[in-house]
């Protein structure tokens, strides 16, 4: 196990996981001397009936101060301030965020406003501007992928000033994350597949990246092991509660791994396809992951080779000669995309040309690739990729990932 010259690792979030995890929220709130939480979520989550499951689990234990279920997908400062007012009016003393990235970010923003009694949220943007603990925040992720339940970042937009503010602080880590399979049980199979591959890309990039460390490695290996044994099964059998718990656990492990190391070109390209063409994040990650490993192979092939053990088990690992293990890992990830493609009736895209919107229209026209490559050049994660990437390199990878051809 390699010890880097210097590293830091921190994940102070308490994890409560399992089939009865939601029922343990009242106890977790009591531990933090909180009695009256505000639930923050979005219409999609409440429409899927998930808030009913949460409130049922809280029944008898606590009083819910308020439920704000209208966080928009591109939440902003106005939403944060409106929710903060509701929090104060109802005399709430804690927050429960149920949902994905936008909900988590919004709840974190509300928490800064109500804890710091802030009129101007801007004062707290940037790194380490927060100096003390905020109000108790419990995160309940509703997809198994992003890992945003264990990250210390919040991004909040100001639509009036056309600005995006980033807040980075260990005080933004949720106090508790609840990993309960009931929250992902009804995810459609294509989303299950894409978010699962998102988690895999977090773990793989953490393990093979430049800022890896012993603890991010261990979390990444565990995540990959769980994803290998469960993702395809759960995509085929959405009602498999144990598989759902395994995937939710894997996403959290992968989130802990990548938020304490760095991600590279899979995210560089993924972010850019997302921002230019509006493709969901997980779908991009799934497509680019094998290309990232291929492109970086001469730099970190010895590391991707090790992933053959969690990805394929003892027998395949032993039977594959050492120099062939990295290739085998790449092949297995491609096979995983293929299996997910089959398990979702073709809705899980293997290549960019297969990505379509709800009307079946292609989302990534080939002529957009140069745009995407240019956008990628200014994505921060590009600096953490093991091998350098210029515009031509990015375009070459994008063209291959569009067509579905391996890199030479």
């Amino acid at each position: 196990m390699d010890l880097p010259g210097y590293y830091e690792f921190c994940c102070r979030v308490k994890i409560i996981a399992g089939h009865d995890a939601l029922e343990r929220i009242p106890g977790a709130l009591a531990d933090m001397n909180a009695r009256k939480p505000m639930i923050v979520t979005d219409k999609g989550v409440s429409g899927a009936g998930l808030i009913d499951i949460v409130t049922d689990a809280l029944k008898g234990g606590i009083v819910i101060g308020a439920i704000a279920d209208d966080v928009p997908p591109d939440s902003d400062l106005r939403v944060v301030n409106r929710l903060a007012n509701a929090y104060r009016e109802q005399g709430c003393d804690s927050l429960i965020a149920v949902g994905g990235g936008s909900v988590m970010d919004t709840a974190k923003g509300v928490n800064i406003v109500v804890s710091e009694k802030a009129d101007d949220l801007m004062k707290f943007s940037g790194a380490n501007a927060l100096k003390k603990a905020l109000k108790p925040l419990i995160a309940i992720p509703t997809t198994a992928g992003t890992g945003s339940e264990v990250t210390q970042v919040a991004v909040i937009k100001d639509h009036e000033k056309h600005m995006k503010m980033a807040f980075v602080s260990y005080f933004l880590l949720p106090d508790v994350s609840i990993i309960d399979p009931r929250m992902t049980l009804t995810l459609p199979s294509a989303i299950t597949a894409a978010t699962g591959m998102d988690a895999l890309s977090h773990a793989v990039e953490a393990y093979t990246g430049l800022a890896k460390n012993p603890l991010s490695d261990a979390h990444a290996l565990a995540a990959i092991d769980l994803i290998r044994s469960n993702l395809v099964n759960v995509t085929k059998n959405p009602g498999d509660r144990n598989g759902r718990l395994a995937m939710a656990s894997a996403a959290t492990l992968a989130g802990m791994a990548f938020s304490n190391s760095m991600v590279g070109m899979v995210h560089t390209i993924g972010h850019s396809v997302g921002s230019v063409c509006g493709v969901p994040h997980g779908a991009c990650m799934a497509i680019v992951l094998p290309y990232g490993l291929e492109y970086n192979k001469h730099k970190n092939g010895h590391l991707s080779a090790e992933l053959l053990l969690p990805l394929a088990g003892s027998r395949v690992y032993t039977e594959t000669p050492k120099p062939e293990r990295a290739e085998k890992v790449i092949a297995l990830i491609r096979q995983m995309n293929q299996d997910l493609h089959d398990a979702t009736g073709g809705r899980h895209a293997r290549f960019f040309k297969e990505v379509t919107d709800r009307e079946g229209k292609p989302m990534v026209p080939k002529e957009k690739l140069p745009d995407i490559a240019r956008t990628a050049l200014s994505d921060g994660s590009i600096f953490y990729n093991p091998e350098e990437l210029d515009y031509d390199d990015l375009l070459m990878v994008l063209e291959a990932a569009w067509e579905g051809k391996p890199l030479d």
């Binding site: 196990m1 010890l3 880097p4 010259g5 210097y6 590293y7 830091e8 690792f9 921190c10 994940c11 102070r12 979030v13 308490k14 994890i15 409560i16 996981a17 399992g18 089939h19 009865d20 995890a21 343990r24 001397n33 380490n128 100096k131 003390k132 603990a133 602080s169 260990y170 460390n213 012993p214 603890l215 490695d217 261990a218 979390h219 290996l221 565990a222 995540a223 092991d225 769980l226 044994s229 144990n242 718990l245 395994a246 656990s249 894997a250 492990l253 090790e306 053990l309 003892s314 027998r315 690992y317 032993t318």
Partner: protein, 387 residues
Amino acid sequence: MFLPNNYEFACPVKTNSGNRALEHLPVELDALNARKPLVITGKDAAGKGLVDVLIDAFRDSGITIGVFDGVPTSPDLILIRELFRIYRDGGYDAIIAVGGGSATDTAKTLNIAVSGEPEDLETCAGENLIKKPLKPLVYVPTLSGTGYETSRYAFFGNKVYTSHFLIPDLVVIDPRMTVPEDAKTTASTALVALTQAAELYVSPGKNPLTDSYAYTAISFIMENLVNVIKNPQESIGRLSLANAHCMAGCAFSNAAAGMAHTLGKAAGDACGASHGLCMGILLPYVLERYLSLSGYHIADLLLPLAGFDVYAGTAEEKKAQKAIDTIYGLQKDLFKISGGAIPRTLKDANVSKDILKNTAAKAAGGASSGLDSDGCLAVLEQAWEGR
């Protein structure tokens, strides 16, 4: 990978490890809203010049630090009263413990007093009686420790404090502080960590997060312990062992103590023998006993013990025994390279045979493991005599 139906895990520790890690302390303290830390350590660390390195790290930071470097092996309440006065009158707002054992126990105990009232030392003794976060606590490890430093435990006199709030906020592992120790101290500290991590890694109470910390700790110890004792100048090896010791403590906060841990501590206490050496001796015997019980994951242990290639290359049905044999192998190597100073049997560790029966009965009474008093006694007797 084993996934329980329900599990919980928390590790509030931030780890900073590596070159010039101490120089990050001013920034880290600022992030914890602390400006004036009191350093607590024993004469041993001070004598080795470690405190000077720490003081140097604060040069140019504008931060004033206090240093108390007189913690004895068995501190008493008079010391806590003295430290309480120093902390309060000096306007300190955080504690940095340098070195394990009594220095850290004293720092944690002092933290209970200064975060509330001195009377809390009476009312908070026991399980989960501390009700709110304490002042920021930083732990700077050396190569000598009891295994409880990064855990939720503090031992002071005859009192045991158990609380999530006792876990350090920050651990700073710096190669200038992990200076060489004698073979027995190095081994004892590492073997507590190995026992904590390995027992948790095989236990029915494990989960993927305890696995991650335990896996890392076990790997580091197996890859470095023998080397470091052979060649104490191995700086990266020493740093790896200190990492292992901190991570094992983090995992340990999330589970009940295993049988080798419980028996090793009890036998050590009864005879004034080293806890760590006793635990290390007992570990493979306890694991062998677990082979016949269901719900234990002995085969999994081969991965961190022996690495990817050996694990993958060993047939499934042979993995568990191979894991146990690997630990016997470690015992043999340690015995050999230390010229017999690191014992392989409880007998050689100066544990009296007379105490075994009583120790077994007591351990089984308070135990979380599947072993009854007879099982404990059998393990103790085997480990006393050796194979």
